[in-house]
């Protein structure tokens, strides 16, 4: 900042604008890169889960596949369907991308100092700006002049709007724990030990964590909630008629959304970039810890996509309104009561946290025992040779 005003003689206004542009470019570059890496990771992980190789041609382990995809999509013919609403058709992909990209401004890529804009209403901004995607999808379904796209757009809009409510209510729980809407405060209120994370503080916050995670999956149109883009029913729903670069923008928005699910879950519930006391302040380590946790959450999202079948539209709506919303309300109510009790008996907080964490660990151990049985069963040799 000083560099620009003093050395180059710019006014403060222009220096601000230049810095803003540079930061936005960096954010966009990070987003695009992570979106590409997520799409590679998805294809590779899907392949390995299905006993086949994933991409392995372009670059070592196929890691440059997303570059090849982008180049191919850019080189395609620019096609607007006959009878489509030209103006809406052209601006829709960018609307969807904007809804996803703009959330990156309040999410931490590393420690608290690495949030682009640490608004004091950060979480509120995060919830609100993702709603722009709904308009984008409706416009995509309508402007394609295709009945199947219209159906897909309607379904998707209904789904996203319904699931925003449990997500927002589930977010009230870490806000209660932190006492503020600002993302930086939420990061500071969690520690680096697993039982100091917001997810394992109380049983209610664990409930809120699951509601938030499931709701985020539904917001991103990921299986098991991907009915709007179900390949076997609507041939990819609202983005059927988009090809070439416009499809690349939708594609980037969807996979970037997976990255955002990871980032937001980590920052809000899984402790974010918090490091032990003696290592604090090291920027590289905080980025590494943050990214490690984000990649783990992204792996779980991809894992769920290739394992579970998808819900039907009325079952999806039932899940949101009849099950997730009451759970989110119970979590909020329970957490408030707990905090009142904890005000009287301060010792209850760490004990509950450790108990919840131990329960979680035991479930994980049982789960991994099942994986071991599956692996042993699959390894009986066939001996056809």
């Amino acid at each position: 900042m000083n560099l620009l005003t003093d050395t180059l003689g710019m006014t403060e206004l222009w220096a601000n604008v230049v810095i803003m542009l540079i930061v936005c470019t960096i954010v966009f570059a990070v987003f695009a890169l992570m979106s590409g890496i997520t799409s590679w990771a998805e294809r590779r992980i899907a392949g390995r889960m299905q006993s086949r190789y994933g991409c392995n041609r372009v670059g070592p382990f196929g890691i440059l596949q997303f570059v090849a995809d982008a180049v191919k999509l850019i080189l395609k013919e620019d096609l607007i369907p006959d009878g489509a609403d030209r103006f809406l058709y052209k601006i829709t992909p960018y609307l969807c991308l904007m809804g996803v990209l703009a959330t990156l401004v309040v999410l931490p890529l590393g420690s608290r100092a690495m949030i682009v804009a640490d608004l004091n209403v950060g979480v509120l901004y995060f919830i609100s700006i993702t709603s722009i995607v709904v308009i984008g999808i409706l416009m995509a379904g309508w402007s394609s002049n295709n009945k199947w796209s219209l159906l897909g757009g309607m379904r998707s809009a209904a789904q996203i709007v319904s699931y925003e409510i449990p997500v927002a209510m589930a977010l009230l729980t870490p806000i209660l724990i932190a006492g503020s809407l600002s993302m930086g405060d939420l990061l500071d209120s969690q520690g680096w030990l697993p039982w100091e994370w917001a997810a394992f503080q109380t049983p209610f916050s664990a409930l809120a964590f699951f509601v938030f995670f499931i709701g985020s999956l539904a917001e991103g149109n990921r299986t098991p909630f991907d009915l709007p883009e179900a390949e076997s029913e609507l041939v990819s729903g609202f983005n059927t008629e988009y090809s070439g670069f416009r499809f690349a923008v939708f594609f980037m928005a969807e996979y970037g959304n997976v990255f955002l699910i990871g980032l937001s879950t980590t920052a809000l519930f899984l402790g974010g970039p918090n490091l032990p006391g003696f290592l604090q302040g090291n920027p590289f380590l905080s980025v590494a810890v943050m990214m490690l946790k984000t990649f783990f959450v992204m792996f779980v999202v991809i894992w769920l996509r290739w394992t579970l079948p998808r819900f039907r539209i009325d079952q999806l709506m039932d899940l949101s309104w009849k099950y997730l919303l009451p759970c989110a309300l119970i979590a909020f109510f329970g957490q408030s009561v707990f905090m009142l009790v904890a005000h009287e008996i301060p010792a209850i907080t760490p004990i509950t946290a450790i108990v919840v964490f131990i329960v979680f660990l035991l479930t994980m151990v049982k789960f991994f025992g099942r994986i071991r049985t599956n692996y042993k069963e699959q390894s009986i040799p066939v001996g056809l040779n």
């Binding site: 299905q50 006993s51 041939v235 579970l308 079948p309 819900f311 056809l384």
Partner: protein, 373 residues
């Protein structure tokens, strides 16, 4: 005066090219967005006139065409035709050939049911089980390639026996495969068949009562899924099926109503397990001997007609053959299980979601070439 809001029904086309209709079939659907009011299947995109072709090729020369009638289970399709002609001629098939026929037929039944179950799962969104079932099917393709050289359309059966003998050490290889398969397939079923999301999609959808099933001439796993215990291998045994010990699984409304999609799906799952049992028994009992019965070079069945049914994976395939003493049939009608299964869709597809229509088609196990011939 209040005017009511008008809603219109849109007519959409679940067109010939569609990732979920199994083959080239077209549905004209009148819907209001989610609920279907009327559904009219438009078939015939894969009509190749196989029945007309039969009138100009010889009796033995028609066998490769039967492969293409149902290419997913083409050993059984071959068998259906060869059995019909053998019953007309009165040829006796040697016992070793019968055992080899059952082994090939049951292996093909397993691979056909794997495709059927995998495609139904894929329509529901679980793509991984389909790929894993295909991995198991690759082993079966390799086994069948060892005996006849082909992987999909085998042309293995001939009128009076089979074309090639099984190689040495085949029993050991098949038993090795079965030992691996029985355990691996259970694991894959744990992923889908007992998954609650999957059960929610399939249970109580497309329920067909036993009376309706018989009225529409449902056959095979579709009929047994509705609770009717009828299997051509048991009720009108042919070949050596009366010497083998196996059970007939029927739908029992374990989750949902009797005759819904889950029952039909589960009957196929159970039939895979029964086929494994049959295979193990055959491999132990197979005798030595000839593989081809005595058949004249120029086959000319006497004048008349006969209707013979065989249990193929998709139901019972009925061959109605009318011969007038010449070297090619005068009329050959193939009545396949997919044809009758499809005719119920206009009735079942009322007031259901489009997603349910996909589930129903997947559970009825329709392949387009068998539907259109």
């Amino acid at each position: 005066m209040t005017s009511e809001l008008k809603t219109e029904h849109i007519t959409i086309n679940m067109g010939p090219q569609h990732p979920s209709t199994h083959g080239v079939i077209r549905f004209v659907i009148k819907t209001d967005g989610e609920i279907i009011h009327e559904c009219d299947p438009d078939v015939g995109y894969l009509h190749r006139g196989i029945e007309k072709i039969a009138e100009s090729v010889t009796w033995q020369g028609f066998v490769p065409f039967t492969d293409r009638v149902d290419y997913v289970a083409s050993m059984n399709a071959n068998w259906a035709y060869c059995l019909a002609v053998e019953k007309m001629l009165g040829t006796e098939v040697p016992e070793r050939a019968e055992y080899i026929r059952v082994i090939a037929g049951e292996l093909n039944r397993i691979s056909s049911h794997l495709v059927a179950i995998g495609a139904a799962d894929m329509d529901m969104g679980a793509i991984t089980p389909f790929v894993q079932f295909l991995r198991e099917r690759e082993y079966i393709n390799d086994l069948l390639e060892m005996i006849c050289g082909a992987r999909l359309t085998y042309n293995y059966y001939s009128i009076g026996g089979v074309n090639y003998d099984i190689p040495e050490g085949y029993s050991k290889k098949v038993t090795g495969f079965l030992d691996h398969f029985e355990v691996a397939v259970e694991q894959m079923h744990r992923l889908v068949t007992y998954n609650q999301i999957f059960i929610n999609r399939f249970a109580n959808v497309g329920a067909v009562s036993p009376e309706m099933a018989m009225d529409y001439n449902f056959v095979g796993p579709n009929l047994r899924g509705s609770g009717v215990k009828y299997d051509v291998r048991r009720n009108k045994p042919y070949s050596i099926y009366d010497k083998l010990d196996f059970e007939i699984p029927i739908g029992t409304a374990s989750v949902g109503t009797l005759g819904d999609c889950y029952d039909r799906y589960f009957v196929r799952v159970e039939e895979i397990r029964e086929s494994v049992k049959i295979l193990r028994q055959c491999l132990q009992q197979i005798p030595a001997g000839e593989i081809q019965g005595k058949v004249k070079n120029a086959i000319k069945p006497p004048v008349g007609h006969k209707y013979v049914r065989t249990e193929t994976p998709r139901g019972d395939t009925g061959y109605f053959i009318y011969s007038d003493g010449k070297t090619s049939p005068s009329r050959l009608k193939i009545r396949t299980g997919s044809f009758t299964g499809m005719s119920i869709i206009p009735e079942l597809a009322r007031n259901i979601f489009i997603a349910d229509l996909v589930a129903i088609i997947g559970s009825l196990d329709i392949v387009a070439p068998e539907l259109d011939r």
